[in-house]
């Protein structure tokens, strides 16, 4: 019996084994290797010189890094709350079986399939002060064009709007999936219980999709903390570092300055940030759930 039992146990491992191997090879190993490299002065050509926490000490004192962290956090705060809210409102509006809703669902989802290159190209046409869409409109109204991408105060909001436009499709899909999980008869019960539209939304819909809400906020936060392509392609981090994000800085340090060790240390800091923020969100939501 024990032999058969042991054999059966091994069968189990055989099933999860291939996944574990790939997971270890492409996720766990690079993570550990990254931590290891971040403790060295290293470049892309194989130089490794142990400096302990030296790279982290440098990070603490690096004003460029500090600004990129602030930029990244501001961008995340400018993107995630409005993105979640707008996606939820659009999903509520599109959660019906009419032909128009089906067409609009496709329209909102379509921006998601565009690559970041195309998206930034489109928004450059809109934002650029010489003959951009907004500039033309302002000119027609007799106003001066606004240099969105070269004004240090406007460049972050401009990147945020671009990202909002690009990223709406996926959260809408998640919310629609969540909304369609809610059984229709509890809405009918609510109608018989004299619930107003607002009460129905607040007491029925919102609690029913709180898991989806958490998922959207967590995924978007993790994604926006890693924002890179839009900043790189729209502004290259400028003007004067006003739109340099953390990942953009990591890219510059590793492939511009060849300081692989320092770049990896910043990447580990970013990893820690994302981990903390995500776990915090999860804890905040599930803790309230247990109280209820």
């Amino acid at each position: 019996m024990t032999a058969a039992h042991t054999a059966r146990q091994w069968h189990g491992y055989a099933f999860v084994g291939p996944f574990l191997l790939v997971y270890a090879a492409i996720l766990v190993a690079p993570l550990l290797l990254g931590i290891w490299i971040s403790l060295h002065r290293a470049d892309l050509f194989g130089r490794r010189e142990w400096i302990g926490l030296g790279n982290y000490a440098e990070a603490l004192a690096d004003p460029v890094l500090h600004q990129s962290i602030v930029n990244t956090l501001v961008l995340t705060l400018l993107i995630v709350p409005p993105l979640t809210l707008i996606a939820l409102l659009l999903a509520l509006a599109l959660n019906r079986a009419t032909r128009l809703a089906a067409v609009l669902r496709g329209v909102f989802f379509s921006s998601l399939v565009l690559s970041v290159t195309i998206v930034t190209l489109i928004w450059r046409f809109i934002l650029t002060p010489d003959a951009g869409l907004i500039a033309e409109a302002l000119e027609a109204a007799g106003r001066a064009p606004i240099p969105f991408l070269s004004d240090p105060d406007l460049v972050i909001p401009a990147i945020a709007v671009t990202t909002l436009w690009w990223s709406l499709g996926f959260p809408i899909m998640l919310f629609l999936a969540g909304l369609q999980q809610v059984p229709g008869d509890i809405y009918e019960a609510a109608a018989l219980d004299r619930a107003s539209r607002w009460t129905t939304f607040r007491r029925i819909t919102l609690p029913s999709i709180r898991r989806t809400l958490l998922l959207v906020v967590m995924l978007q936060t993790a994604a926006q903390l890693q924002i890179f392509g839009q900043a790189q392609l729209l502004t290259g981090g400028g003007p004067g570092g006003a739109s340099r994000t953390m990942v953009l800085y990591i890219f510059e340090v590793s492939f511009g300055r060849w300081e692989l060790g320092y770049a990896t240390a910043i990447a580990e800091l970013l990893f820690g940030m994302i981990l903390v923020v995500t776990l915090l969100q999860y804890w905040l939501v599930t803790r309230r759930e247990e109280e209820r």
Binding site: P183, D185, I186, E188, A189, A190, A191, L192, D193, R194, A195, S196, T199, R203, I204, P207, S208, R210, R292
Partner: protein, 364 residues
């Protein structure tokens, strides 16, 4: 006029009609069962009364007030849904309080009504739990409780017993019967189970093919079915409907079955339509098993159902028609045996070509 009044209510989904001109009066404290097969329109009718659907035309009034254009919450009705439709993220207490709270009922009043309903339904211990932590039977009670606390003028129950196992179903049936004595309101229950309808309802509304087929007390619907559909749907095992020809010309109709056997009914010839080709309706209790050759006709046994106190014999006549007969509980008949059938024509029904039922003058 108090109670519920439906006048010529029509409803269709797109080009598919689901209800064709339904009219019905329900007394203020009456227990009514809508009985019909799936797709007959009975659930749609209930949803029209609840306000979850809007009729294309016709009038619905409750206690003299037109309600067909009022939103569901303002009609004075409460509904128990087939799948209960409890709010999964709220506790039982919050589920019960939700409707009262929305209606602006005072806090003490809400608490008092919940306590009272919880005591009656024996769910006091469950008030702080969520629906996911309850068994099917407990959820059913909570759903009923949510309707009771609203103190409606009319309860609407959509297949209330269909999700329960057999033992629980019988218990809940008894509880529903007790419930209606405690509440000052009418009850309308949708069901496709004729036993539920027969045991609970004051009157049964048989619905089929988008129309009301018959409205009547349970025994009346059983004894004097308005048409062949009602006769076939109410009663188990089902009534046998045998092709027959009207032969006699006396006061009461005499018919000849396809195999040649003559049956003398007590249906007055005067009420029958002029056509001669009819169907003879025979319930199992109208047919007794006797020795071959000594009854109205002979038949072959095709199925034997032993119920203990009696035995149901499913028999096939020479012409291929099937009917059900009753034999003693100790019957030794087996499949394939030849039997004689003594048909008691005195309680037989006759159904005309259009399905209309004609019944014995004095039901035996």
């Amino acid at each position: 006029m108090s109670g519920l009044e439906l006048v010529d209510v029509r409803k269709s989904y797109g080009s598919t009609p689901v209800l064709d001109g339904v009219s019905l009066s329900v007394g203020p404290r009456e227990f009514i069962a809508f009985l019909g097969p799936s797709g007959s329109g009975k659930s749609t009718l209930l949803r029209l009364i609840a306000g979850l659907e809007v009729p294309d035309s016709g009038a619905i009034s409750l206690d003299g007030r037109r309600i067909e254009h009022l939103p569901p919450g303002e009609r004075g009705v409460a509904m128990v849904f087939q799948h209960y439709a409890l709010y999964p993220h709220m506790t039982v207490r919050e589920n019960l309080a939700f409707g009262l709270h929305n209606a602006g009922t005072a806090r003490d009043e809400i608490a008092a009504r919940i306590d009272q309903a919880a005591a009656v339904l024996e769910i006091d211990a469950l008030l702080e739990r969520k629906p996911g932590q309850l068994s099917g039977g407990q959820r059913q009670r909570v759903a009923i409780g949510r309707a009771i606390v609203k103190q409606p003028r009319l309860f609407l129950l959509d297949e209330p017993l269909s999700n329960l196992d057999a033992a629980l179903r019988n218990r809940t049936r008894v509880e529903l019967a007790q419930l209606r004595r405690r509440v000052e309101a009418g009850v309308i229950m949708v069901t496709h189970d004729q036993a539920e309808a027969m045991t609970l309802a004051d009157r049964i509304v048989v619905i089929n093919e988008r129309r009301i087929q018959q409205v009547g007390a349970p025994l009346e619907v059983y004894a004097r079915p308005a048409n062949a559909f009602v006769a076939g749907f109410v009663g188990s095992p089902a009534i046998a409907l045998l092709p027959a020809t009207v032969t006699g010309s006396g006061v009461h109709a005499q018919v000849r079955l396809a195999g040649g056997a003559e049956v003398q009914t007590r249906v007055p010839c005067a009420v029958l339509p002029p056509e001669r080709e009819v169907r003879l309706g025979l319930r199992p209790e109208n047919v007794r098993v006797v020795a071959p050759g000594s009854g109205t006709c002979d038949a072959e046994t095709i199925l034997v159902e032993r119920l203990g106190d009696r035995t149901l014999i499913y028999a096939q006549l020479a012409g291929g028609e099937e009917l059900t007969a009753i034999d003693e509980g100790t019957s030794a008949l087996r499949i394939g045996d030849r039997v004689g059938l003594a048909i008691d024509g005195g309680s037989a029904h006759i159904f005309g070509g259009d399905g209309t039922g004609y019944h014995a003058e004095h039901p035996a």
